[in-house]
């Protein structure tokens, strides 16, 4: 059965205020069925308050072969990290 059903990626919002995070995927014939399957597979232990599903086919992934070109140049650019400032003690949540 799963062989004939398209794949959907599932995102769960753990609680209000947090962003939806990718948790896995389900097979389903359409969006409504995907939401039901995602609810049953990924939120049965109170993992979330909101679900997103989207067709896996809609995702464009970066090419692993281009990983060096895309990501390696960031490795030696420490000055892109905001670590050269002293954060005052009274400033919270940074």
């Amino acid at each position: 059965m799963t062989a004939i059903l398209p794949l959907w990626e599932v995102f769960v919002r753990a609680k209000n205020g947090l962003s939806h995070r990718h948790v896995g995927s389900v097979h389903a014939a359409d969006a409504r069925m995907a939401i039901q399957a995602a609810r049953d597979v990924y939120t049965r232990r109170m993992e979330g308050v909101s679900l997103w599903v989207l067709p896996s086919a809609a995702i464009t992934a970066s090419d692993p072969g281009e990983a060096d070109a895309l990501f390696a140049p960031a490795a030696d650019k420490v000055y892109r990290h905001p670590t050269f400032y002293v954060v005052p003690d009274n400033v919270k949540h940074i």
Binding site: M1, T2, L5, V26, H27, A28, A29, R32, M33, Q36, A37, R39, D40, V41, R44
Partner: protein, 231 residues
């Protein structure tokens, strides 16, 4: 009166929950396996609440009622003890039952008995999901392939004769709303409403089909062989 009602509702939930647990590891897909097991566990939760209530006056807990009664002491409706059959028949049973249960529990949520009302109010949310899950599958299968349509129609035919029993006694008033929901779903699924048949009843007074004995043999084996065993 209250204990009898709690026992009927608890036994419905216990036996159907057990039936659904039989799908675990056998369902058509992982998603459906988990969905059916989830519904079964929801029902088991309801059974625990209701059987606790039902056993309280005699000092018996839910386990005592679940594991130490014989089949003629169970008063679940006959529909829930029917074998799973294929996936379509399981869905037919679930839809017909959950659609009824949703109406019944919505009504009981306003019951004069505070404990019955509280359990019903808590459970009606999950039941509403069960009914919509099963209803969606009735439509998918009915409106699917030639084979799925045939199986869905056969599943409904099999279950239909056990639906009269749901409306015995003070549940009779729920019938028009139930029939309207079922007919609307079947119409959307392109399925005929099963022809009226002579209803089979008796579950509420302990007269069961041969299937219940087999369920209990499996369900009660361990506690009867090893009384008071713990994990």
């Amino acid at each position: 009166m209250r204990e009898q009602l709690a026992r009927e509702l608890g036994d419905d939930a216990l036996i159907l929950g057990h039936r659904l647990s039989e799908w675990c590891g056998h369902a058509p897909s992982l998603e459906i396996d988990l969905a059916l097991a989830n519904i079964g566990l929801d029902l088991l939760g309801q059974a625990q609440f209701f059987l606790t209530l039902a056993g309280a006056p005699d000092g018996r807990d839910a386990d005592a009622l679940a594991y130490r009664r014989t089949e003629d002491e169970f008063c679940n409706c006959l529909l829930v003890e029917q074998p799973n059959g294929d996936f379509a028949r399981t869905i037919a049973r679930q839809f017909l039952f959950s659609a009824w249960q949703e109406l019944r529990f919505a009504e009981l949520a306003g019951d004069a008995d505070a404990q019955i009302a509280a359990i019903a109010a808590k459970a009606v949310k999950e039941i509403s999901y069960h009914a919509s899950f099963a209803g969606d599958w009735v439509i998918r299968l009915g409106d699917g392939t030639e084979e799925s349509h045939r199986r869905m129609a056969e599943g409904l035919d099999w279950c239909w004769r056990f639906t009269d029993e749901l409306f015995a006694g003070d549940a009779a008033a729920l019938r028009p709303a139930w029939a309207a929901r079922v007919e609307a779903t079947l119409a959307q699924a392109g399925l005929p409403t099963p022809k009226p048949v002579r209803g089979i009843t008796g579950g509420r007074v302990g007269r069961h089909s041969e299937h219940l004995g087999h369920i209990l043999a499996e369900m009660q084996y361990l506690p009867r062989a090893h009384p008071d065993a713990v994990w």
